[in-house]
Subunit: 315 residues, 2 copies
């Protein structure tokens, strides 16, 4: 099988403090975009909410306090430089940010930008984690369900940059359904930005398990859907609250082929062979030959768990 | 949260040669059932096709040659002893075997037997791997699609032994849909029997990846569905053809809590806390709060992959 190389970069961000400006954040992204391009990347994946601190950790009620974290246009005055540089360097990118739509709705969003600096795709996060109420006794909040609406445009794949690329955001990576919907559109690369606290505010989960679950989810999804996964996190201590790192590129074999070494700004890169998933797609994960959707109906019929079907009846 | 201990055992089988009798196989199963009971097991999980060699590796055309691998009744004359001993020891079990139904249909089947030795559930394998044609140039065959029909009773969970138990078989463990349908019925334990060749006959896959994919699939499924996984393989060289071992018990944290050490008959055991998954079910995998089936429709609408939806259109 002939190889189909695709220069794939992930740009992990170190912390962005609450008082850091967008201009500062964009300058860091530009620096990493240039490094990615110099290493031969056709596309660089930036994290979720890559222009500000991870603000869902704060309970805020004043509109102005909240609004300053959202982008009213993309590109906007501060982000235009990303598009200009991308075009000049002929590098595509994935960028996560907080979006206010033209109708005034708020989403946790990512965009896919091609090598001509055109926005070719948009994804509005569907699996919003956390809560919407003020958990005043928790060390911090996780208010994605307060600040964002559930994405209203589904899970999509775009044909661009000589590949088929899907997008997810953070918590989506734990949900097999999201990956499968992308694989059923023939995705070859899935880009995922994330911000994940090391501490679980709901129960006393050992922090090492959180990193394990992140990597486990990426590896299983890559393998079971025969896709390249490019996952970019924002890491380190923001305002004293720790986000884990672990940005990674995972091959369709499920193997980690590049992983960030620290918790600061860092570019990782690999020459991804887009044909590597083909043998899996033709045999063990030949969906057309092996999938049995007639037995999957509960997946769309139920939201939460319900009674055991418990059939066939006792023999 | 108060613990809910469940003594859970997995009985890995070493190889069964083509000329070994059912009586010999059952004697080995009985030995392990006794060991499991002595260690406090409420249930012991045996492998897929646990009464014979893994016969789908052979191209056979004569009805008699094929028929001898199938059970016409369960229990049958040779398997009755398993039920008698289970009742005496008050231990439930999962057993995989080749079934001929009363209508003469052939399935790759497992049964769930309670501590009173009653068959409470049956599962007929849905994700049949391999092929139905004679690949005469391959080192061996994988003819599950020739010898078995696709299971016609769905993925089910049974309320038994003070738990809710689901069953899968072998290749099912790689398919997230199967696990999710069980989790949507509130499964707490999923038993999986398997026979997996170390060599991929379709392409030159490194053998170590095969074991990695097995463990990866079990761990991701346990974590993402908040279930205990009890996976029992048949291992070692049957007629010169190697099946990998790696029988394991995986907790809802995704952690391996017991794993077979060799490639022969071996019981592994753990005192599984069925409440361990509760914290996950209440927060990160609170399906009712987080799942969005309206965006999962491709999972049941498509079998194989199709065109990218590629919406929303270019912005």
């Amino acid at each position: 099988m002939s190889k189909r190389p695709f220069g794939l970069a992930v740009a992990q961000l170190g912390p962005i403090q609450p008082n850091d400006t967008r201009k500062q954040a964009v300058a860091r992204l530009l620096e990493m975009m240039k490094e990615a391009a110099s290493r031969g990347a056709k596309m660089v994946v930036f994290p979720e909410l890559a222009l500000t601190t991870f603000f869902p950790r704060y309970w805020m009620t004043e509109k102005e306090a909240i609004d300053r974290y959202f982008e009213k246009s993309m590109p906007g005055p501060e982000t235009q430089a990303l598009f200009d540089t991308a075009k000049k360097l002929s590098i595509g990118f994935y960028l996560g940010y907080a979006e206010v739509s033209t109708e005034g709705k708020c989403f946790n969003t990512s965009i896919l930008v091609n090598q001509q600096a055109e926005i070719v795709g948009r994804y509005r996060k569907i699996h919003l984690p956390g809560h919407s109420d003020n958990k005043s006794h928790a060390p911090f909040q996780h208010l994605e369900k307060k600040y964002f609406e559930v994405g209203n445009e589904g899970f999509n794949v775009w044909e661009t940059m000589d590949s088929r690329i899907g997008m997810l955001l953070c918590n989506d990576r734990r949900w097999g359904e999201a990956w499968r919907v992308l694989a059923l559109q023939n995705a070859e690369i899935v880009a995922v930005g994330y911000n994940t606290p090391s501490q679980n505010i709901h129960w006393n989960e050992p922090p090492h398990l959180r990193m394990f679950h992140h990597i486990l989810s990426l590896q299983a999804a890559a393998y079971q859907n025969c896709v390249w996964v490019a996952a970019a996190g924002k890491a380190g201590k923001e305002d004293g609250f720790h986000l884990f790192a672990g940005s990674a590129i995972v091959a369709p074999t499920g193997e980690i082929v590049a992983q960030a070494q620290g918790e600061d700004d860092e570019v990782i890169f690999c020459q991804a062979d887009l044909a590597l998933g083909d043998a899996f797609k033709q045999h063990i994960f030949n969906f057309a030959a092996h999938r049995r959707p007639e037995h999957y109906t509960l997946i769309t019929e139920r939201v939460g768990p319900g009674a055991a079907l418990g059939k066939p009846p006792l023999l």
